[in-house]
Structures are given as C-alpha cells and as structure tokens.
Symmetry: D2
Subunit: 256 residues, 4 copies
Amino acid sequence: MKDIQNQKDERNIPINKVGVKNLEYPIMLEDREKGKQNSVAKVSMFVELPHNYRGTHMSRFVEILNLFHRENIIDNLENLLLEMKEKLQAKVAYIELEFPYFIQKKAPVSSQSSLMSYQCSFRAKYSEEFVFEMSVKVPLHTLCPCSKEISEFGAHNQRAYVNASIIFDDFIWLEELIEIVEETGSSQLYSLLKREDEKYVTEKAYKNPKFVEDVVRDISEKLDKDMRIVSYKIEADSIESIHNHNAFAMVKSKRI
Amino acid sequence: MKDIQNQKDERNIPINKVGVKNLEYPIMLEDREKGKQNSVAKVSMFVELPHNYRGTHMSRFVEILNLFHRENIIDNLENLLLEMKEKLQAKVAYIELEFPYFIQKKAPVSSQSSLMSYQCSFRAKYSEEFVFEMSVKVPLHTLCPCSKEISEFGAHNQRAYVNASIIFDDFIWLEELIEIVEETGSSQLYSLLKREDEKYVTEKAYKNPKFVEDVVRDISEKLDKDMRIVSYKIEADSIESIHNHNAFAMVKSKRI
Amino acid sequence: MKDIQNQKDERNIPINKVGVKNLEYPIMLEDREKGKQNSVAKVSMFVELPHNYRGTHMSRFVEILNLFHRENIIDNLENLLLEMKEKLQAKVAYIELEFPYFIQKKAPVSSQSSLMSYQCSFRAKYSEEFVFEMSVKVPLHTLCPCSKEISEFGAHNQRAYVNASIIFDDFIWLEELIEIVEETGSSQLYSLLKREDEKYVTEKAYKNPKFVEDVVRDISEKLDKDMRIVSYKIEADSIESIHNHNAFAMVKSKRI
Amino acid sequence: MKDIQNQKDERNIPINKVGVKNLEYPIMLEDREKGKQNSVAKVSMFVELPHNYRGTHMSRFVEILNLFHRENIIDNLENLLLEMKEKLQAKVAYIELEFPYFIQKKAPVSSQSSLMSYQCSFRAKYSEEFVFEMSVKVPLHTLCPCSKEISEFGAHNQRAYVNASIIFDDFIWLEELIEIVEETGSSQLYSLLKREDEKYVTEKAYKNPKFVEDVVRDISEKLDKDMRIVSYKIEADSIESIHNHNAFAMVKSKRI
C-alpha cells in the first residue's frame, strides 16, 4: 500500500509540531511516601516535521507509548523522546502528560489523615538536549487583606488555584513543589477537617491575609532561593467570593 | 434523490428525542429595565420520532430556527414548537436555549453601577400543551455558620452557585427569579465594589451566615409562597474555601 | 464546641440531597481480563436531610469514603451506603463515581494491541433497597446513510459518543456493555491502527452506514433481548463533520 | 479607610501580570456585511505591577471597562489600554476578549442562507506601543488522504478545528481570516444543507483529501503571501473519526 505520508512535499514549510493529542493512558508515578502511585494521564506527543515530508506517521506515536508502557513511561521520558526522534526521523520531539496526583494529608489539629488530589503535569522536549518541565495546580485559601483591614469583623476569603511550573537541575519531588505553594496561602486546603481543625484553619487564615499578589511573590521568593530551580512561572487565580470574576496574578522568573 | 430518512423502519422502536444539539445563535430577550437585550444562545431542538420512520430531517430544525429568527425566537417559542410538530410530523417537540443575561446592578453603598452576567436557560416542550421551564444560575456569597460559631474571629466563606428552575402559571421576569435567589446568600456578588462597599459586604456576610442547606430552604420558602409558581428545583453548589471539593444541596417542590 | 448542624430547623423543609461533590479519589475496579484495574474517580455523596435538622455533617462523608477505601470502595457500595444512612441518620443515601476505564483492544487486521479509554460511571442509591446504575460513554464511527446514498463517491462520517446507562438484575461487566455499544456503529474506534487496519475500518464503515437514530435503536434492540437488564437510557451524540452542531438521539426503555 | 494595596512592598519582585479574569460583558463588533454585530465576551484585563506596590486596584479595571462600554470597547482598545496604564500607574497593560461571531453563509448549491458561529478573540497589549492580535477558531471538514488512497471505497473524515492567530499592519476583517481558513479544508462546514448541498459537500471533500499537516501548510502559504500580516500561529486539531484521540499540527511564522 502506498505511503502517502512519505510523499515529497513541495510547499517548503516545516511544521513546528505534529502528532497526537488527548490520548488517555494509565501511568505509574514515583511517590515520596509510598514508592509508587497509579494514576491516569492525558497524553500528547508531537515532533517537528521537516519541510520535505507530506505527513508524519501518527500510529508510531501510539506504538512508542505502548512500548514504554510495558516498563514505565514516566521513568523513561528521555529515552521515549529519543525513540520518537529516531522512529519519526525528527529533529525535535515533545511529550506532555497531565494527571491527578494524590497525597495523604493530616488535618492540623485532629491529625486525621485523608487523600488530597492535585492536578499535575510533565512536559518534556528533546531537541539538542532533554528539557523537562514540571507543573502543579494547588488549591489555596486566600483571605483578603483589604477586606480585613476596612471591616469591623470578618473578611472575605475564597478558594484560589496556583499553577506553578518549574524547570530544575536537581531532582525535586511533586510533593516538595506542592508544599512550597501550600505554605504561601492564608491557609491550606484539606479533604477532611473535624470541628477543631475548622476552628484552627479559620483563625489561621484570619491572622494571615493574602492578596494573589502576595501569594505569587512569596512563592517567587522561595523558588529564587532554591538552587535546584533553573526557571519558573507562577500563576494565582482566585475565585473571588464577592465578585463573579477572578483575581489573577502571574510572575515569571527573570531567567525564563 | 432518495429520501433515506423517510424509509420505513421495522425495528418497532419509537425514539424519545432526536434532533440537533449545540447550535449557537443570536437571540433577543425581554429586559425588564431596557425593554430588549441582545444575547447569544446555545440551542438544542428535538422531536419524538414515531417507530415507523427511519430518521428525522435534521435540516428542517435549522430552517425553522432561521424562520423564527427573522421575528423573534424567544417571543414565539410556542409557535416555533407547533411548527416543529407540523413540519417534522411529530407528537412532541422540544427546544432548549442557554444564554448569558446581563443586569445593571448598583453597589450597596457607593451606588456605583455595573453589569453582572447570569447564565440562564429556557426549556420548552409541546406535547398536548405548551410547557415552559425557566432556569437561572446565580452566584452567591456563603459564610459558614459553623466556622463563625466555633472560631474566635473570622469565618470561612466562598462563592457558591445556585441553579433555580421553575415552571410558572403567571409571567415571572428573569430579574425577579434572580433577585429571589440573591436575597438568600450571606451576601450578593457584584462586578464593581469600592472600598466602602467591600466593608459593607464583608460585615453583612459575617452577620448573616448560611449553609447551602439554609440557602435552598430559604429559596424554597419564598417560592412556596409565590402563587405564580407551579413547581421548582433548587440546587446550591458551594466552592468550599477550606476544602478541594464542593458542598451541595438540592430541594425539589413537592408538586414536581 | 457547639454543633450548629444539629440545631433544630423550623422551616419544615426536608432536603432531597445534601453532601459533597467532586471529590477526587483513587479506586480499584474489577477487570474482566486482568482481575483488577486502578483508576481515579470523581466522587459525589449525598443524603436526604430530614426537615428538623439544620445541616448535615460534611466531614462524615469523607470519613466514610476513607474507611471503605482501605478495603475497596467499588466492591462495597451497598455497605458504604448503609454506613452513610446510619452515621448521617438519613433515610436515603446516594453515591456517584465517574472514572476512566481501560480495555486492551486488538486492531482488526494487524491484531496489534493497544489501550482504549472509556469514561464510565456508577450511581448507587439506598432508600428501601440498594439500586445500582452503570453507565458507559463509548466513542463510535458513524457514516451517514443519506450522504452515501445521494453521493457518487464518499460519504461524510465522524466520531460520535454513545452514553448508555443500565440498571440490571444479574451482573454485567463494563466490558460487556461497551461491546454491545461498539457493535452498533458504522465502525469501532481504536487507539492504534496500521495501514491494513485503516483500509479495513474505512471500507467496513462505508458498507455499514448508520444514523444516530439507527445506533440508539440497534442498542435498544439488543438490551431489550438481554434478560439481565431491568431498564436503560441510550443517548447518541454525533460530532457532525459537515455541520458545526451535533446530531442527537435518545431512547429510554419503556420500563424506566 | 486605609489603602492596603498602596502599601510599600519590600520583596522587590515586580509582577508580570495582575488583574481580573473571566468577566462576562456585552460587546459591539464591526460586521463587514451589516455594519454592526452584538456579541458577548469573556474579558480579562491585566497590568504589570512595579516591585514597590503591594497590590493593584482591582475595581479600577471594571470602572475602565464600564467607561468604555458607554461608547464602544472594541473600537477603543488602544485608548482603553492607555487609560489602564494611567489609572493603574503601570508600564504595561493587557486586555483579552473571547466571543462568538456570526456570519451569514450560503449553502453551496441551494444557496439557502444560515448563520454560522465562530469563536474569536482579540488580545491587545500596550507597553511602548499598541500591539493587537486577532484569533479565529474555524471548524473544517478533513478527509484523510491515506484512508482514501488505500481503501477501495470511502475515506474516513471528521470535524477539525483550526485556531489561527495573526498580528497585522493593515486592517483585516474577521470575515477575511475565517475565509482564508475555510478554503483550506476538504470542505467547509454549514449550519444548513439541503440534500443537493450534502451531495456536493460529500463529493467535494472526497476529491479534496487533507491531512492536518496540509491544512496548516496551506494556510501558512496564504498568510505568507498576504503583505498585511506581520506574524501568525496556526493550529489544526482534528477529531479523528477512527481514533479516540485527536491529530494535531501547528505552524508559526518565522517572524514571530
């Protein structure tokens, strides 16, 4: 059968990225406490296509994913990208995986333990060398400093989400990045809080008001001091409880 | 050309609903203050298909929508459904429209005015008679009664969304239903609040704590007393600021 | 500390459903081939609240989920609902879980094997007795009978999604329900197809045109004949390739 | 009342973007045929915050939007950004608007006219000068060249979406950019097609097979020749009808 994809293309236009998007796949992650953790990922895989080929071979992306699934996709991202470069004759290969990650977390007073989920992602690229970016989406409690200051009692507060993406030199756990972010809210969030915990969390947040601007700056300060981190981008998106729109702040490392 | 849809079907299975889904269309709504308001709707239209026809004629749904668009779709829902019944030889016809609706709203102290958007929907059905259901999705501020009671200062609060659907005998404005819902939160939400408004809203909410259970019961009480209303369903979904999951409550009228 | 939720409520309004929504949680499923399969679920849990209580105890829902997680949530849904009824003093308890499920699937000619994901859900309720509903969302290929008939060559086709929900007496595997649905499209979908498979799938679909009306009727016929099934609802939603809206059909069993 | 936002910040970290996100707002657009068109936009507005201020003034964003709404937001984006720079004492201001846009479109044979909706967006930035980016999301029909070549009859095809973003020197209508994209599919999409149109569209697509790679290259060629265009990014995302994942291709102009 004719290989249409291999036809010569005369338009002289290289394609920056071509591949498959939104494949769902089971994965196995490194877990700092338990050793291993099962999850499910949305996967996208792309290569750069030289100007002279009409198309890429989409089925090879899935074959390569299957091949590495037998061992462990996450532990072998670098080899997986090298395989993509070879099998698809490409100068650049990309893979992106988005997945929920679970951490056992203790309530602050009762110490009752429960699972919290965090949406995380890995993005890797191999052009001349292997580049790896790790992202976490962490829910936080933010209590408004202005509302507290001007009001006789109470202060509006809400759930906010921080997206933190980092490129690092030395290994960093998902758990570490999540902890760095969680420390910067007015309070952390929990799946399970008993009454004594709810009292503690409420009072802690009231004593610790934070704008989205404060949150991204506090994380930025911490990441600037961490010598393992090469560059970062931090976004805070706060589901304002007195408005029907969100408050947003973003800081990028100068090194990006 | 052969009319495949008109072929006789031998499977002896009537189809409850068949038609088009997620057509986007500009609409013109009745506005209590301004007379008219432009919006954009997601539209779905279905009919019941008798067991003996193989398929419905999908293009006729869009033709009928175009026809009524020349005058006004929303003002003529009953005639539109009758036209669907006739042109598609159906015993039952359905239309659903989801759209944002805007209300000019004044801040509580500064009286500064701004536009708030609300996701609304109309669902109509014509079997033996015309049945019309109106729904609004209203953002509210809920401040937790338990957190306030047990804490020395502060109380967690958050944005919540109420979905209220009603069937009525006598005309009710979208604005009226939205107002009924907005009165039941710890506070309303606003697009624009100056500092004096933020102080007012913060203190009002602190004095007025509400569980999702309180919100749906308060709305239920009001709707039970409103003689125009035949039946209702109320859902409150609170984006808890101390948890990564939502709190939810739902009440249906006994008459549904 | 005061138990606000336990306060007496004077509004005399029972709440149909109250609880937690969109908790994310790891689960372990029965797999027909491999015995067990890990996945991740979105979980909602509700109870009916009697008129005389002000609020439910939200943290108990999460405690009960944690308790059953130690063994296996999915294998113990009935006991989990009984525990909810007891611990929350409720007449009715509900749980809903949505999760991706993976099946190893062979390409039709090359027999190359790959993983396909399906969005599935379980909904269970315990009032007087345990009621369990199982749903699968299955992607299908639909090729338009009308387009084929009237055109000299080719026929428009597209991806469609079937939602099939069933209540059954005797155990049915997720795999069985998925297979029943997959047989009714113009073709099935696959994660991995080599050229010989793509030829087979293309030609099979062309010989086997199907409207959404045909798909829901064909599934309905099969389910009507399956004595294990008590009731069902089938929806087909086709991402029409020549329109920017979807074609939709729905059939409910007469017994629902 | 104290102005907390104006407090001096000692962390020495400028914030790249801070502001409001996902405000919904009615807008009025230039329409090539009708002169004017009403729509509804999701609006985000950000400024850069100097390192020495603790926070921005979120309510001023909404005040500025209200102010320009009285005349016309879209016609005055440059002045709106200048106002943001001044009122918020910022070196850089950003605004983003996403909205549906409607075009009256004739079926290819019957000439029956109907409305098609397209998701569009405007992104503008004012740092040293005004920079404006326009994007359209256009649905296309793509018929697979490989499937056609290797099969005796038929070919799989599907709906695909092209995202095309451009920065231009000389004015370009949304309609023009949409037309450029629509010409590059195997066929265009329509809201309303009669039988003779469906025959035409089916046969045209079969004679005109396109990979996502072909689509982005064809658009790239056209945009390269258009002297009004400074830079572009084109993405094609095809809802493959034989797979449960999408095929994707992206080309950026060398000048970006």
